[in-house]
């Protein structure tokens, strides 16, 4: 499944679709890291607005993405988790600890800009 990854300045924006299989998620993980290296991005926004279910595997993948991208010196923000999805996640005990989250794209960009200012 093709996932669009847009470059906006120093930030990469990946819009995850619904119905991503485990294999898709694994591909995305490595793909994103590659892009970060290629474009020397400082930040990545993963937009999961379209994802109607975030289960334990998806949750773990998001944590791994954040970790791997941090190792490359960039920050990741997960945006667009839907209220019902968030509710289901906490029932399962998936808290995305250690991962930055924001309401939507706008908030995600604001968060990254804040972070960039601090490190500049």
């Amino acid at each position: 499944m093709e996932v669009p990854i847009l470059k906006q300045g120093e930030v990469l924006i990946a819009t995850f679709q619904a119905a991503l299989s485990d294999a898709d998620l694994n591909q995305l993980r490595s793909g994103l890291v590659q892009q970060v290296v290629r474009f020397r991005s400082r930040g990545v926004i993963v937009d999961v607005t379209a994802m109607d279910v975030l289960d334990s595997f998806a949750s773990r993948t998001l944590r791994e993405i954040t970790h791997m991208i941090r190792l490359r010196g960039a920050e990741t923000v997960i945006v667009g988790i839907q209220p019902e999805v968030a509710f289901a996640m906490v029932q399962l005990g998936l808290t995305l600890e250690g991962v930055a989250t924001a309401l939507d794209l706008e908030e995600g960009l604001a968060y990254l800009n804040q972070k960039f200012k601090k490190t500049n």
Binding site: V53, F87, A88
Partner: protein, 127 residues
Amino acid sequence: MPINSDQDIVVARQKGRALATELGFPPGDATLIATAISELARNIVSYARKRHITLQKIDGLNREGLSVIASDQGPGITDIRQAMRDGFSTSGSLGMGLPGVRRLMDEFEIKSQPGRGTTVVVKKWKQ
């Protein structure tokens, strides 16, 4: 429906959501059901043979609901009580484990025989 690949997990939860919506469950509940199916399917994909998920409409006293039956013919769970303890997961991080699924649904039942396999039945009722 059989669960043999990770793609099947996606199919299973999509069907679950569709059935839940068709039965008139509110979208929040439909998400809970779909998530539970995803987790249950996960728990049986990794190492078991003949993995299977069945979705059914069920009728109760004055109410309707949906049941998910996840079964496999794998090695079975030797210590069910330990499997039901929060945070426990038999194969690394595939499947957050059953306690989470229990929280998502209204009713939860598990039967396992070492060497024969495991069956988990969960139900959610429409208010």
